[in-house]
């Protein structure tokens, strides 16, 4: 057991720190489009420095980073408050899915533009009536010569308005059993038959979109992993390691908590034991989250699959992040509810944390079944 970074991990961190110091991300501009353009620029700089996808194999432009190094990478990004690369879905989900299921031609064609942010990717899995239930997808693709004609509706596609490619799961066999008739496609977003409508969130922003697809065309060569194999390919995408990203979120949480602690201190509120108790509780949760996340990485690295602890960190993070935002309102009072306060934004945005990327309820079902071996939920 060694809970410090190894020499090579420290070397990795120091190299990235040095690069970050020489290449500061700068301040994001206001406005969604401008902010996104900024993130694209930022990813291009990471790419040029060889830092766009550290966990990818070197042959595809990565650095063969270990899970711990990938965690360090996102921690360091968060520590300097640099933005997440624009093409995060392509880097974390799309690339690894292609590496496992794609043909050589597909890898040659798509991987580098993902890294360079030349082509942004989005994810077209969720549908309005399917929710967490992939087997209930209704979007369908019908063969038409060498092409597929796709019709349907997708939802919660973040970044769709900026994307060139959409990882789309559609039903290609109406008669097959629910899981079996699915195929995984790459849909070209640049066609009139694909309409993107922003979904406004309770924060007022539109991170997510609805996708209306009316007879869009996909050439046969854009099938990933074979016709009828979409369920398995989609699982690869879903299972893909977001652990690294999680480390960034957790550092951001810690930065927020430290800031609240500092503000409470500055106002002399730490003398109120109720405030101290609350902040102590949050620091405890935050530290346990960090430790548990690293335990999960160690288990995965050693045994090839995560242990029970690995399934818990998203749940821990999302609830702690919500509690932090509410604690800030309780401790700092009305000013934390003003529209321009980052705490007010956090209060609203954090409500999505227990919904996005698998609701807490679905996570608990998965943990109950797969980790605890309890009977299938009813």
């Amino acid at each position: 057991m060694d809970l410090t970074f190894s020499t090579s991990e420290l070397a990795f961190r120091d190299e990235f720190r040095a690069w970050l110091e020489a290449n500061p991300a700068g301040q994001s501009p206001e406005g969604e489009d401008a902010a996104y353009a900024f993130r694209t620029q930022w990813q291009r700089r990471l790419y040029e420095g060889g830092w766009a996808a550290v966990h990818w194999p070197r042959q595809f432009g990565g650095r063969d980073a270990t899970l711990v190094e990938a965690a360090i990478f996102y921690e360091e990004l968060a520590r300097v408050r640099a933005p997440i690369p624009a093409n995060v879905l392509g880097i974390l989900l799309g690339g690894p899915t292609l590496m496992l299921w794609g043909t050589e031609e597909q890898k040659d064609r798509y991987l580098i533009p993902i890294l360079s942010a030349e082509e942004i990717w989005c994810q077209g899995f969720s549908e309005p009536d399917a929710g967490s239930d992939l087997a209930a997808l209704k979007t369908k693709a019908v063969k038409d010569g060498d092409d597929w004609i796709v019709t349907g509706q997708k939802v919660w596609t973040s970044g769709a308005q900026y994307s060139k490619w959409c990882m789309l799961v559609a039903r290609t066999d109406q008669d097959a059993a629910k899981h079996k008739g699915l195929t995984y496609f790459l849909l070209d977003m640049e066609q009139e038959e694909v309409q993107v409508r922003p979904l406004r969130q309770i924060t007022g922003e539109s991170e997510f979109n609805e996708l209306f697809i009316e007879g869009a065309r996909i050439p046969d060569e854009n099938v990933i992993g074979g016709v009828g194999n979409g369920w398995k390919v989609a699982l690869t995408t879903l299972m893909n390691e977001r652990a690294g990203l999680a480390f960034g979120l957790q550092v951001a949480l810690k930065i927020g908590l430290d800031k609240l602690t500092e503000q409470a201190s500055a106002r002399g509120l730490m003398d109120d034991p109720a405030v101290a108790d609350k902040l102590g509780e949050l620091h405890l949760k935050c530290e346990i989250l960090r430790l548990t996340a690293y335990r999960g990485l160690s288990t995965t690295m050693k045994y090839g699959q995560p242990g029970p602890e690995g399934s818990l960190t998203k749940w821990m993070w999302s609830e702690t992040n919500q509690q932090l935002a509410q604690a800030a309102v309780d401790i700092l009072g009305p000013e934390a509810l003003l529209s321009d306060s980052p705490w007010a934004y956090g209060l609203l945005r954090s409500r999505g944390n227990t919904i996005e990327g698998g609701t807490t309820e679905v996570l608990k079902n998965i943990v109950a079944e797969r980790v605890l071996g309890l009977p299938r939920m009813r």
């Binding site: 239930d133 209930a136 979904l199 309770i202 309102v329 007010a344 919904i355």
Partner: protein, 337 residues
Amino acid sequence: MNFDFTDDQHEIKRTARDLLTNRSPFERVREAAESGAYDEAAWKELTELGWAGIAISEANGGQGLGTVELVILLEELGYACAASPFLSNSMAGLMIEHAGSDEQQAKWLPGIADGTATATVAIADQGVARLVPDAEAAAVIVFVQDGAATLVERGDAEVEALETIDPTRRFARVSASGGDPLTGDVEGGIARCEAALAAEMVGIAQRAMEMSVQYAKDRQQFGTPIGAYQAVSHRCTQMLLETEGARSATYFAAWAADSNPVQLPLGAAMAKAAASDAARNVTASAIQVHGGVGFTWEADLHWLYKRAQLDAALLTSSRIQRRRIAHASAAAVTPTA
């Protein structure tokens, strides 16, 4: 012992629900929020119906009913998440009615009762009230500090508009000094305000719960309505528990205000604390039950969530209320030395 409304009170509740269902559907709430202005026509209608003066004496232009009736209206206004100066104006009315002199009452209450010269309440520390609803448009501000209150005319106060996360209500920061002192029962006035505020939050929680229950019946996942899953259905029962608990405390406080003032201070503290927690928890829970849909602007749940957060921040905080409750309870059981 009869812990139920009278027939008249039930009738007020029904009428209010019907009216607000028509006049304040969520489309109107959204319009008011996005335009940054209240619906003047709706406000006029409410005042013409006498709502604004419901708890103000007839001599001063009101209807001469009680805090219970006011609480009934406020619960419904909360249920509708109505965008209106009703809460702030009523709270000011309660303060002046219960702590003002005859002259002060005669001067201000008629305008409050008919809505032509609205008022509000500001809770200040060192001359500054950090969060005051509807101060910009108020004719007079009941400025409370260190347990004392003065009436400060709008022109004599420094009012700085604030943009909060709840755009269905106008807020401001108010600085003032001096003013015309209220020499009566200021503490009792504030306790009545707490009961009134609690009622709005009970209505908010009730609405969020009902929307969640309805959604849980309608929305299918894995081939069955999500309300058939205990993760959802038990969450809904928790909403019911908190909402009904807050309601019990709020009705008690309102009744005490009208009929048993000795129980009001503790009752009001309990109502505010319970309703703040209920409104915040239930609205957050409602978003969760709705899943991704609950996180969208169009689902309208966020108006309730945001209103709950702002309401909970008004008047005394829950933390302080809990301590008041504890110390009052300790005083009640500890033999005096």
